[in-house]
């Protein structure tokens, strides 16, 4: 199994898609509750697996284009089939996943095994009939949106109009129409005329969940810009600019690096947005630009280790974050296969671990604690014994229920709220 690089529930939560470093997409489907297997409700089983992207070679630059799936975004379901967008560094693809459970039999021009019949042998006409067959799930690429990005695509976001979507790379954001593959419109371009002057890149972008003219993008300098597509064709001028003033007492050479935003997500309500930087998660009110309304420390104990984390490159890890369906709780990952959830109203937070050793199926997860002071209590883990190779970068929360998907390197964990 390859390293999982993205996790995403669809709009109903019945399907869960994962993309991996090898360019494959695996879709899980939630089992329906049945009388014969009452415990199976909530279980997700493999529904479809397909190779979305293949490695490519850019001959002009003599560089490989990785097949790693950077993001998957589902489209809202409009008919029996399911559609999703998956992207690697350069190319976005629209996939159709459809079920086939019937087969036509009794063709006139060909035999049951598919061989063509000789026309002179056909003496009578019959109407083919549909017979049931074993369920087959087919994935077929319907659109390929290529050659629009010079830099590496880090985000895709489907618009609330369900007709357009944006794709963002390090320096540009493009707007696409789902039906049109040979043209996209550039809506943000922060590339300087002289590349030597480059000091800031785009790290994430997302459309507003309700206002189809509004989107945000975050930067490596810890700022978020909200843009309105009605104001201009090229949204280089932002409508709102979100930045928290720096705390001068905690300034260091690593300040900028740890302020770089790795993920931005609107709340389901559309009133708030959440950003993830290296050490914290911040919730912003879209009406207030000068500071976030809430800040949650994910792993503050790492602040004194920044130099080591810079040396081993962990400081550049891009953690994602997500909201639950009601926007009451937020979740993000950390190291040592830890992930954290924060309840906004009650200010309760918990650290949990996604690993086989620490949890048996259907057992309640035990909260974990990292020891930050000298004295280590029982069951606590010291900062130095954290495994920085076990990082949880990708998590997803079911849109309606308390079911979460956590990707721990090449394993996917699904946790569910215990219902008595």
């Amino acid at each position: 199994a390859d390293i999982i690089s993205t996790v995403e529930f669809n709009y109903t939560g019945d399907l869960l898609a994962t993309g991996d470093k090898g360019g494959r997409v695996v879709i899980f489907q939630r089992e329906q509750e049945t009388k014969s297997r009452p415990l199976s409700r909530g279980e997700y089983n493999v529904y479809s697996t397909f190779q979305s992207h293949e490695p490519e070679f850019d001959y002009l630059k003599s560089l490989e284009i990785e097949e790693k799936i950077n993001k998957i975004r589902w489209l809202p379901q409009q008919n029996a089939a399911h559609f999703l967008l998956s992207t690697n560094d350069k190319t976005i693809k629209l996939w159709k996943i459809s079920e086939r459970d019937k087969r036509a039999e009794g063709y006139n021009l060909k035999d049951e095994d598919g061989r063509l019949r000789e026309p002179c042998r056909v003496t009578e006409l019959r109407v083919p009939t549909l017979k049931p067959m074993d369920l087959m799930v087919e994935a077929s690429p319907r659109r390929t949106f290529a050659n629009a990005h010079t830099y590496h695509i880090n985000s895709i976001s489907v618009n609330s109009d369900y007709a357009t979507y944006l794709s963002a790379d390090d320096l540009r954001i493009n707007l696409w129409h789902l039906e049109v593959t040979n043209r996209s419109f550039n809506i943000v371009d922060i590339k300087p005329a002289n590349m030597e002057e480059l000091t800031e890149v785009i790290t994430a972008a997302e459309f507003h969940p309700h206002h189809c003219n509004t989107f945000v993008y975050s930067s490596s300098k810890g700022t978020i810009r909200l843009c309105d597509m009605r104001s201009a064709a090229l949204c280089d001028q932002h409508s709102k600019f979100f930045e928290e003033p720096e705390d001068p007492s905690s300034r260091s050479f690593f300040s900028e690096i740890i302020s770089s935003i790795s993920d931005v997500k609107f709340s389901h309500s559309g009133r708030y947005m959440m950003t993830r930087d290296y050490l914290s998660v911040k919730v912003w009110d879209l009406n207030m630009e000068n500071r976030p309304v809430e800040t949650y420390q994910v792993h503050e104990y790492l602040r004194s280790k920044l130099c080591s984390l810079y040396e081993n490159d962990c400081i550049f890890d891009k953690f994602e974050c997500c909201w639950n369906g009601s926007d009451s709780t937020i979740m993000t990952g950390s190291y040592n296969n830890f992930f954290r959830t924060f309840e906004r109203e009650t200010h309760r937070d918990v650290t949990l671990e996604a690993s086989r050793e620490s949890s048996k199926p259907r057992a309640v997860l035990k909260p974990r604690k990292v020891c930050t002071t000298g004295k280590r209590k029982k069951d606590e883990i010291t900062v130095d014994s954290l495994d920085f190779n076990k990082k949880i970068l990708h998590t997803a929360w079911h849109p309606m229920e308390n079911i979460i998907a956590v990707a721990a390197t090449n394993n996917l964990y699904l946790f569910q709220e215990k219902v008595n």
């Binding site: 284009i65 560094d89 010079t150 590496h152 030597e196 480059l198 000091t199 050479f253």
Partner: protein, 249 residues
């Protein structure tokens, strides 16, 4: 190998002229920590992923860190002082690293077309190739092979080009040795934003980034402010020659 492991200096309180952490004798001075961070950052920028394009965000963040350190060092006036107090091989290594920084900067200043040594410039070139209209395409396609050249050189002819680079490195070392100690300052050019131009030039030199002195750097305190500004100049005419060699290879 271009950057060998830097010799770690053991500084205790008495030898530490620059010590801003007075009283904490075991921890190396702030300036030494800062220099180590600078060296580490330069190595990170130079490390290349031969086949896959390096992460632009990471490169930009490291480059910004380097720029920040060098700005502060220039303000401090410690830019020169650090090098006069160091000895032998270690100082040469540092000189070489900053020398190469200066070379790119100097070439920029002279308006030379330095064909795409860095990720950023490479992208810029190929971006031009993609964005340009019909009339520009000839010009772009002329640039593109040169791009390819400088980009591919270490992949297709690693031995030959390493040899060339080694030759140019030797020339740098030669020039440095021939200079009198006082003209060390002359080797530094104005610090510029173009550190990441080094990328392709120094690719293929996979250096060992294991730097053991990170633990001491954890106690980094806020940077001090100093006023003086020092301008550095480069006067190596051999640079042109070296650049030519690299371009033609």
């Amino acid at each position: 190998m271009f950057v060998r492991g830097l010799k770690r200096k053991c500084f205790d309180g008495e030898e530490d002229i620059e010590g801003t952490l007075a009283g904490i004798k075991a921890i190396p001075s702030y300036n030494l920590q800062r220099q180590s961070l600078l060296d580490m950052s330069l190595v990170k920028l130079q490390l290349c992923h031969m086949l896959v394009e390096p992460n632009l965000c990471r490169s930009v963040l490291i480059a910004n860190t380097v720029r920040q350190i060098q700005e502060e060092m220039t303000q401090d006036g410690t830019w020169q002082m650090i090098n006069t107090q160091s000895t032998g091989q270690a100082s040469l290594d540092r000189l070489v690293s900053t020398d190469i920084l200066c070379r790119s900067a100097r070439d920029q200043a002279e308006g030379k077309h330095v064909p795409a040594y860095g990720t950023f410039n490479k992208d810029f070139e190929s971006d031009h190739a993609q964005d340009s209209s019909e009339t520009m395409s000839t010009a772009s396609s002329v640039q593109a092979p040169r791009n390819l050249q400088s980009n591919v050189w270490e992949m297709e002819n690693p031995q030959e080009n390493k040899g060339n680079f080694q030759k140019s490195l030797d020339q740098i070392f030669e020039t440095l040795e021939n200079k009198s100690p006082n003209s060390v300052e002359d080797l530094f050019s104005e610090v510029d934003n173009s550190y990441y131009d080094l990328d392709t030039m120094l690719t293929g030199m996979m250096s060992n980034t294991k730097m053991g002195h990170c633990d001491s750097l954890e106690t980094f305190s806020s940077p001090t402010n100093a006023a003086s500004n020092s301008n550095c100049k480069s006067d190596l005419n051999d640079l042109d020659h070296i650049v030519e060699i690299l371009v033609e290879s």
